[in-house]
């Protein structure tokens, strides 16, 4: 009898508890979902010098200007700021949220380049997809005939292709890493000693310093380097600064090239601050919503 009363008292004490639950607490128990793809693994289509896993959203156009400046060793010239420069002008367009195309042309090497990038897999916040994977295919064409080189007379010999699988993960809100297995094929090489095919792996990272500024770095390891010349892995260290629709990417690197098949395989300088080895550059990207 007594135990029954205890149970009754227990039950009675329970019901007002249920009623007294805050309406907001009750609301928090109702599930609420939206897509949970991890945003902004990197901020731009390029980490620094090479491609990132990011594509552009549908109907957006980006106009970009890349440049590098460097000094010639033992130069007696009176050049302003730097002895030499190279530049690339490019356009990137998002056909869909997962598919981006781009074209560009660079001077003074006269390389025209195009690329297709498809976002195969997107990382999700619940870690169901722990990685993002994008596939990149580039095609470049050398419009200028280089001095003293008799090869490459046929237009078919002036192409080069790069295929990359860009695999990235945003580990924390500030830190992202990317590994990119790379295959490069040239239709011709300057020296008969060189293989037309190269295998390489790219490593890239971003660390966010504030909501608008991040530090980025990249390095490319080439498994079979050129035999005709001593080459080094392309390296870049830079800062990305986002100002509304303008993305500014400042970088220090060891090469003056803008397309994958050249900077990955043909970087002949080691990274240091000596004249001739030190390349300073910036890359400005203006974002337009069409």
């Amino acid at each position: 009898m007594k135990s029954n009363l205890v149970i009754l008292a227990f039950l009675l004490s329970f019901s007002p508890l249920v009623v007294a639950q805050n309406l907001l607490d009750q609301l928090n128990d109702v599930p609420q979902t939206t897509n949970n793809y991890t945003m902004s693994t990197f901020k731009a289509t390029r980490i620094s010098i090479g491609h990132s896993v990011e594509t552009r959203k549908k109907n957006t156009l980006e106009i970009s200007f890349m440049s590098r400046y460097w000094n010639v060793p033992n130069s007696s010239g009176n050049a302003f700021v730097a002895d030499k420069m190279s530049a690339r002008f490019g356009l990137d367009y998002g056909i869909s949220d997962r598919f981006t195309i781009g074209v560009g042309t660079s001077a003074p090497n006269g390389v025209a380049d195009t690329y297709l990038k498809y976002r195969l897999l997107r990382q999700t916040d619940d870690n169901k997809n722990p990685f993002s994977i994008s596939l990149l295919q580039t095609a470049t064409y050398r419009t200028r005939r280089l001095n003293g080189i008799t090869l490459r007379d046929n237009s078919g010999d002036k192409f080069a292709f790069t295929t990359q699988a860009l695999i990235a993960r945003k580990f924390t809100r500030d830190f992202s890493l990317q590994i990119s297995p790379t295959f490069i094929h040239r239709t011709s090489s300057r020296s008969p000693l060189d293989d037309h095919n190269h295998f390489a792996v790219g490593f890239g990272g971003r660390y966010k310093l504030s909501n608008h500024v991040s530090v980025v770095s990249e390095y490319y390891y080439v498994a079979n380097e050129l035999d005709s010349r001593k080459t080094f892995g392309a390296f870049a260290l830079g800062a990305n600064w986002e100002v509304s629709k303008l993305m500014l990417q400042f970088k220090m690197t060891n090469n003056p090239f803008f397309v994958e098949d050249t900077f990955i395989t043909q970087t002949i300088r080691n990274f240091n601050t000596n004249d001739g080895n030190f390349f300073f550059g910036f890359h400005a990207t203006y974002h337009l919503q069409l």
Binding site: N22, S40, H212
Partner: protein, 183 residues
């Protein structure tokens, strides 16, 4: 004796279920839109997945807004909103919890009232007074209204270079259509 207990137990059960059937109204696809007007640019975004509960007996209203569900015309604005300003990875929701002052349960037409409550955004909670119109519908209620949010109140940092682009005062409008909440 046991029968007596059973009767009491059942009566408690039924009273609880009856009250939960009639007590609350829910909106799962509420609309919240915000505007930022400046001379440099206008920013507008709409969220059509806002969740809200309304209890006409206690005059209580609760709202939960998933920040990632705001849709912008420009994809870059969506990215900046989530990444740099709202930081929706850290603060995924904005919430409101309040009471309608002087709500008249017997009024079958629309009534304009102040909802006094707390609005929480980016872990900052501020008391707000929301002017809203409450209308009885066939099976529920409609509540709509506007609210001004000062971004400085909610820890939203705008770099000095971009302060001309983003208004200090954000206009928020909302429209919720409630139906009986069946749990």
């Amino acid at each position: 004796m046991n029968k007596f207990l059973l009767v009491i137990f059942l009566s408690i059960c039924t009273s609880v279920t009856v009250s939960s059937q009639t007590a609350e109204f829910i909106e799962r696809q509420g609309q919240v839109t915000f505007f930022s007007y400046t001379s440099v640019e206008n920013i507008q975004a709409t969220n059509n997945q806002v969740l809200s509960l309304f209890n006409p007996n206690t005059d209580e209203v609760a709202v939960s807004i998933l920040m990632r569900a705001f849709v912008f015309k420009k994809s870059l604005m969506h990215e900046h909103f989530n990444e740099s300003y709202i930081e929706s990875d850290l603060y995924p929701k904005a919430t409101f919890n309040g009471k309608i002052v002087g709500f008249d349960l017997t009024n079958d037409e629309s009534q304009t009232r102040i909802i006094k409550g707390d609005f929480t955004l980016k872990d900052s909670t501020k008391p707000v007074d929301v002017k809203a119109t409450i209308t009885k519908t066939n099976d529920g209620y409609t509540i709509s209204g506007t609210l001004d949010i000062m971004i400085d109140d909610y820890n939203i940092k705008v770099p000095p270079l971009l302060s001309p682009n983003i208004s200090k005062k954000i206009e928020v409008t909302f429209n919720f259509n409630y139906a009986p909440y069946e749990k």
